[in-house]
């Protein structure tokens, strides 16, 4: 599928945001991703996985000639993202997607804890926007966003989250803003102050759930806490990918059944309980 760059600009430092438009229907869910061929060179050869940062419906509607749009938020870390940062309005890019399994929003959820470590913030905007459109028992779902970054200049999208109505808590490793530490510390702090639980799948009550994306170590710590307290927790993993479709078997992780699962197809979002964290 070919998409067209509408806008591509630096947010801050090495972080960029790109807005793209496409023809037809995409039907993307928060947590899903695309494979993006950054140019038509063989160096780099492979497409780069990028999460949907924002999924924007056609306006006017598709029937009235509107075009769907989406945004990606990315950090320049190497060759591929470096080339991406040089793309200009009107440039055409080949993508494949939407791919993988996105986040599942449980219908009993009245409280969402969204945890983003570093670049893990990318898919969380689409998720937050989606959750903010849901209701449980006719009232809004309360959303807390925990952002953990190295230093205050790495904080992205704070205002955007707040505009949607999410409460944002920040941790910085150097203490330059918010809590000094990581977003795992923010979660721990929350857990000591507020009772958070997920209702049993059969129960009729409401409860909270955790959604996390970020470095593997952070996800493991969060999954540990969540599973310990029996809180539903979905994590989005980041693995090197070649195909993005489950064909190459390149992006596997060990799951609880001791089998290998493809992050691109069976993930990138997994229930924390599915993953064999010891083998990761």
């Amino acid at each position: 599928m070919q998409v067209v760059v509408l806008e591509n600009k630096r947010v801050i430092g090495s972080y960029f945001k790109m807005r793209l438009s496409y023809d037809g229907v995409l039907n993307a869910l928060p947590g899903q991703f695309i494979m993006m061929k950054v140019n038509n060179s063989y160096d780099p050869l492979l497409s780069r996985p990028m999460s949907f940062h924002r999924i924007i419906s056609p306006n006017p509607s598709l029937e009235k000639g509107g075009r769907g749009k989406f945004e990606i938020l990315y950090q320049v870390v190497g060759k591929g993202t470096g080339i991406m940062s040089g793309l200009k309005e009107g440039d055409k890019i080949d993508i494949l997607g939407p791919l993988g399994r996105g986040f599942l929003i449980p219908d009993w959820m009245d409280r969402a804890i969204i945890i983003a470590g570093g670049m893990g913030v990318a898919p969380m905007m689409a998720l937050t926007e989606e959750i903010s459109r849901h209701e449980v028992k006719k009232s809004k779902i309360s959303i807390s966003v925990f952002m953990g970054v190295k230093t205050k200049d790495d904080i992205l999208c704070r205002e955007d989250f707040e505009r949607i109505g999410a409460e944002v808590y920040v941790s910085t490793e150097d203490g330059s803003l918010g809590k000094k530490g990581t977003c795992v510390d923010l979660l721990k702090e929350l857990m000591t102050n507020t009772p958070l639980f997920s209702p049993p799948s059969e129960g009729g009550g409401c409860g909270g759930a955790i959604f996390a994306c970020g470095p593997q170590g952070m996800l493991k710590a969060i999954a540990g806490i969540a599973m310990d307290k029996k809180i539903l927790c979905q994590v989005s993993l980041d693995k090197r990918m070649a195909c993005g479709t489950g064909a190459c078997l390149g992006c596997v992780i060990k799951v609880k059944s001791q089998k290998y699962a493809c992050v691109c197809k069976e993930g990138p979002v997994f229930d924390a309980g599915e993953i064999n964290w010891e083998m990761l």
């Binding site: 492979l46 070649a242 064909a247």
Partner: protein, 306 residues
């Protein structure tokens, strides 16, 4: 112009509507690409390598990008021949595309066992034997690098099947024509080549190999010159039809292989970058024939002017 161009080729008795197949390990069991590709366009799907029992494969990381290529150490993870027949084949049979079962084993017996299971299975049109595996019983010598072993394993397999038998060669050899001849002498119906080149990458930060398995197989455009050279060599030295594989990204690449002597080609790594690449290659070949007044693709096979 206007004339109908025949793109169909016959490989070892398998009638293909065009010379473009997808290579083993790069198209899963076909179903993975159904959302993106019309499988009916591809002449044949060579499925991910199958063994007698399911294989877990190697630990991750399993892939590394390289300059114009990639290394993989998937380690032949697969669901096993029985699950393939029961769970994947019925789906593939719905499409108008040939199914070629790529398979392997750790011993001659294992190779033969797989073949016995598939020989009478409806919906499998051919077999591709991956001989780039070490013989665990006889001191880890690779079936694909030692001509005696090649001869023995292919002969043994040949006895157990009437299906068209393609032997897929490893490029990690001094003289690929010797292996090709051994396979031909043992009764192969066709030769496909190349499998991946053995390679390695190291992370200078951690000083660890980038693949958990240390070494992996190099594929993609970077290996095309080596693949093309080997196809040309083998085409000159055995009388069997050849399937060219290695770094094919465009119709121009596919034609290079056919001109060098391949009757058909397989597209591998390119599928990861563009699942519709086969369709584009087929159309490109057709246009080339049209522009060059070729009404039958078979006429260009081996037409290299030396």
């Amino acid at each position: 112009m206007g004339d109908v161009i025949s793109l169909s080729v016959n490989i070892a008795g398998i009638n293909l509507k065009n010379p473009v197949m997808v290579a083993s390990g790069t198209f899963g069991y076909g179903e993975e690409y159904v959302p993106y590709v019309d499988l009916n366009i591809i002449s044949a799907i060579v499925v991910k390598g199958l063994s007698i029992t399911p294989r877990e494969g190697n630990p991750p990381p399993r892939i590394v990008e390289t300059s114009a290529g990639m290394l993989n150490s998937i380690g032949l993870q697969n669901i096993g021949i029985d699950s393939f027949i029961n769970e994947k084949l019925p789906f593939l049979k719905k499409y108008n595309t040939k199914v070629i079962a790529n398979f392997f084993g750790d011993s001659i017996d294992e190779y033969c066992e797989v073949v016995k299971r598939v020989d009478s299975v409806d919906g499998i049109h051919g077999l591709e034997m991956n001989i780039s595996c070490p013989n665990k019983q006889e001191g880890w010598l690779e079936f694909g690098t030692n001509p005696d072993l090649t001869f023995r394993v292919v002969s043994a397999v040949r006895k157990h099947t009437k299906l068209p038998l393609i032997v897929k060669l490893s490029p990690n050899v001094t003289d690929v024509t010797i292996i090709a001849k051994a396979a031909a002498d043992a009764g192969a119906d066709a030769i496909s080549l190349i499998n991946t080149l053995s390679g390695m990458a190291i992370d200078i930060k951690t000083r660890k190999p980038k693949l958990a398995n240390i070494v992996g197989g190099l594929s993609g455009p970077s290996i095309k010159p080596v693949a093309l050279r080997m196809v040309w060599q083998v085409a000159k030295s055995v009388k069997l039809p050849i399937i060219g594989i290695g770094g094919i990204m465009t119709y121009e690449d596919a034609l290079e292989f056919m001109i060098a002597g391949a009757s058909a080609v397989q597209v591998g790594t390119a599928n990861f970058i563009d699942p519709n690449v086969s369709e584009k290659i087929i159309h490109g070949i057709e246009s080339y024939c049209e522009q060059n007044g070729i009404n039958d693709i078979n006429k260009i096979v081996g037409s290299v002017i030396i």
